[in-house]
């Protein structure tokens, strides 16, 4: 079972007005999907993820984890991509 932790409420108060907080990608439950809001990572990783298709507005689904619990497998733009949780944490999604 995938535990759902660290789930932040949408539009958290601490965020400045107009910026939607969403949830972190690694907190999605199995089979749960959403739309990418933005990526918070150091510039090189951020650009790399974006080039791979992790751009705002893209639908993404958490397909399954792997036997040791990390990385997770996500469905994005017609393919399956394995991402470590540390990388999934950089991606915010709207459910």
């Amino acid at each position: 079972m995938v535990k759902i932790i660290n789930r932040e409420p949408a539009a958290a108060g601490k965020e400045s007005a107009g910026v939607e907080a969403g949830v972190l990608l690694d907190t999605l439950g199995r089979g749960e999907g959403g739309t990418i809001l933005r990526i918070d990572a150091e510039p090189a990783l951020k650009l790399h993820l974006m080039e791979l298709g992790f751009v705002a507005g893209s639908p993404i689904t958490f397909l399954m984890s792997t036997p040791f619990g990390d990385p997770n497998i996500y469905a994005l733009r017609g393919t399956s991509i394995a991402l470590r949780k540390s990388e999934a944490k950089c991606i915010r999604v709207r459910i």
Binding site: L45, T61, P67, G69, A75, A82
Partner: protein, 707 residues
């Protein structure tokens, strides 16, 4: 404009690792790349009157399958010494109506490379011999992601044809791509095809020819150069990526035709993955696959190795029989033919392992295996992407180190390269087989088999230990990550698997083969010079101790004796000189010389043992049996003390497990890890540790009363 700290363009994960890595990933019009392309087979001289067609695309787009189809699997991997550059180039004979060369490139998702193998592709695209036409292979299921690269290529002015693959998978989901509309929107030809079938080859050839002619007629058209690439790379900001994807999402929406399929089938192969990546079944399947691969080495490779060994033994005897007796014939027979035999003996294990891995790779399973072991490997400082290189290390360290290029993080790549020599490569198998046969009781071969499995596992455990220790004490590791696309699961194409197995074995033959044959020739000369005059043996042997006298008597009876020559040779002089070093390991000078010979390639140890302990070509039992019998009786010269005992043989096994006894590997480590310092440290650490540990083991066992 977003500031990009790392221009040039670096492998991104390494941006923090320092300027050295940035430099390593700079895309240049490297002279070596140009030379390699100019020298490519199937190519013409000079400026390349035969057009060059490059296949570019994501690793899982069916690109390599298409390449095999177009070249009829007749291609060569071109490697240029001193540069980390490797291309597969073949004549496009099955393909276009005009003579051309076709080049396959490592998978690419963007023209901004994020690993060394991606950099190789970008290098190839911007080399002096710029491809005349680029065939971009695009998976219809992930149109926007794959068209991203197409857009980049177009922006840089490449002459493109798009090959649209995997439409059948899309059709199963009740969808399709309107190729005509896509072609219109992209302003370049788009051809849907299945790279496993030949039906569209002629049409693709025609499109490529059209583009090539069109490109030529615009001779005034300025091709982009390195400067343009820099401007392009510097301008690759987040905004730019967003605008690309915004445009591509629009394209995808307009060209996708819905035929009313089942929405639920749209998680590609998800059902199979739920089993393959299941916490219990997934792990069981993974372990079973690994177990099958490794046991196949034992029960499949060993008979073939014996066959090759016997075949070359026969060939050596035949050469000596047919040609008149002279030293030059001996040199050819023992040095050259024997050397080639040494090289060939490894092939079964290499071929079996690479075939199995190629099969798993083409089926899409290997990527899942890498994802599965990412977490355990990250605990010891490695990466899931280290999995394939480490597994290859069980065949041969050379292609294994080259496979490490796919690891984006420089630190993890170098650490992987560092421990690859501990994986039990094919050269160790003949040595282990001989030595285990010596210490295991007769009539119980299963004990030897079990011990052999143990040795293979021990290599893995040792590698993990070394990696753990190093990663505990190192800094500047860079940012570790694991982003890997899992390709669709499908039935492997046998032709592709066979071709890739062949070319990996060829890498070994090309890099290690010549070195081994040369060193084998050199060893023959060292063990056979200076020539001993007919009268000299008796006096020479008397001076070296009483135990050798019977041999001398026999030598006198035979008239000539290989042994006499060997024991007075330069090799013997060196061996006696270093005996104080080999003695603590429990070996006499002859064993020491055989050990040094093992540095040509580990397996040479076996034939050197036969030479040093005077196993000649007389008829009788197999060489191994005679060698084993001889090993059980040899003593240190001038004493009754046996050389080969349980402790000394265990010591030799331990030494072979750890020592880096392969000059070809050292040379490749230098190229792949970027420097002599790395290769020298690796050689010194493993060989030094092997020596010290062997001495401790042998002396410790003897102190405990083990013979």
């Amino acid at each position: 404009m977003h500031p990009r700290p790392d221009l040039n363009p670096p492998a991104r994960k390494e941006a923090v690792a320092g300027s050295a890595s940035t430099e390593a990933n700079r895309v240049t019009t490297d002279p070596a790349v140009n030379a390699a392309l100019a020298a490519a087979p199937g190519g013409s001289a000079g400026s390349g009157s035969e057009p060059l067609v490059a296949l570019v695309g994501s690793a899982n787009s069916g690109k390599t399958t298409l390449f095999n189809l177009l070249t009829g699997s007749h291609y060569n991997t071109v490697n240029y010494p001193g540069a980390t550059v490797e291309f597969a180039i073949g004549p496009g004979k099955n393909f276009a109506g005009f003579p051309c060369r076709v080049m396959d490139t490592p998978g690419l998702t963007s023209l901004i490379p994020s690993s060394l193998d991606e950099k190789v592709t970008v290098d190839a695209l911007f080399a002096k011999h710029r491809p005349d036409v680029v065939v971009a292979v695009v998976d219809a299921n992930q149109l926007s992601r794959h068209l991203y690269l197409v857009k980049q290529l177009q922006d840089l002015g490449f002459n493109l044809v798009v090959a649209l693959t995997m439409s059948d998978l899309l059709r199963k989901q009740g969808r399709g791509i309107d190729a005509g509309k896509l072609s219109e929107m992209l302003e370049c030809p788009v051809l849907p095809l299945d790279p496993r079938k030949k039906d569209k080859v002629a049409e693709l050839g025609r499109l490529v020819e059209e583009r090539w002619m069109a490109g030529r007629s615009l001779s005034g058209r300025r091709m982009c150069d390195e400067g343009d690439y820099q401007v392009f790379a510097d301008g690759m900001t987040e905004d730019r990526v967003l605008s690309y994807y915004a445009a591509l999402d629009e394209v995808e929406k307009l060209v996708t035709v819905e035929n009313g399929g089942d929405q639920k089938t749209r998680g590609r192969g998800a059902a199979a993955d739920r089993i393959l990546l299941h916490p219990v079944y997934g792990l069981a399947i993974f372990l079973a696959a690994m177990f099958l691969i490794f046991t196949s080495i034992f029960w499949m490779a060993t008979p073939f190795m014996d066959l090759i060994d016997a075949g070359f033994g026969w060939a050596i005897a035949a050469v000596k029989h047919v040609l008149p007796q002279s030293w030059i014939v001996d040199l050819i027979a023992d040095g050259a033919v024997g050397g080639v035999g040494t090289v060939m003996v490894f092939l079964p294990q290499i071929l079996i392992l690479f075939f199995a891995m190629g099969y798993l790779e083409d089926s899409g399973y290997l990527a899942r295996g890498a994802a599965l072991v990412d977490k355990p490997l990250s605990k010891i400082g490695l990466n899931g992407k280290s999995f394939v290189p480490l597994l290859s290390g069980y065949a041969c360290a050379i292609p294994a180190m080259m496979a490490a290029r796919t690891i984006p993080n420089r630190y993890e790549r170098n650490l992987t390269i560092f421990i690859i020599p501990l994986m039990s490569c094919s050269a160790r198998l003949p040595v282990y087989t001989l030595l285990l046969a010596f210490i295991t009781p007769h009539g119980k071969p299963w004990i030897g088999g079990l011990a052999l499995t143990g040795l293979y596992l021990a290599g893995m455990v040792l590698g993990a230990a070394v990696s753990t220790v190093i990663s505990r004490f190192s800094r500047n590791k860079g940012i570790s990550g694991f982003i890997l696309e899992l390709p669709a699961l499908r039935k492997p194409v046998l032709r592709v698997v066979v071709a890739s197995t062949y070319h990996k074995a060829e890498q070994y033959l090309r890099k290690a083969g010549l070195t081994i044959v040369c060193i084998s020739l050199g060893l023959w000369v060292l063990t056979h010079t200076p020539p001993v005059p007919a009268a000299a043996p008796a006096t020479a042997m008397l001076s070296s101790g009483g135990a050798a006298v019977p041999a001398t008597a026999q030598a006198a009876a035979d008239g000539t004796s290989e042994y006499v020559t060997v024991s007075n040779s330069y090799a013997a002089q060196i061996g006696r000189f270093i005996e104080p070093v080999t003695r603590p390991m429990g070996l006499d000078w002859r064993g020491g010389v055989a050990m040094i010979c093992g540095f040509a390639a580990r397996e040479v140890f076996v034939s050197a043992m036969a030479l040093m302990y005077r196993i000649d070509d007389t008829e009788g039992d197999g060489l191994a049996d005679r060698l084993l019998a001889r090993m059980s009786e040899v003593t240190f010269e001038g004493t009754q003390e046996k050389v080969f005992t349980i402790s000394s043989v265990l010591g030799v096994i331990l030494f072979f497990m750890i020592a880096l006894q392969c000059f070809s590997t050292v040379a490749v480590a230098k190229t792949e890890a970027g420097g002599w310092k790395f290769a020298a440290v690796q050689l010194a650490v493993y060989t030094g540790a092997a020596y010290v540990l062997t001495v401790i083991l042998v002396q410790g066992l003897r102190a405990m009363g083990v013979a």
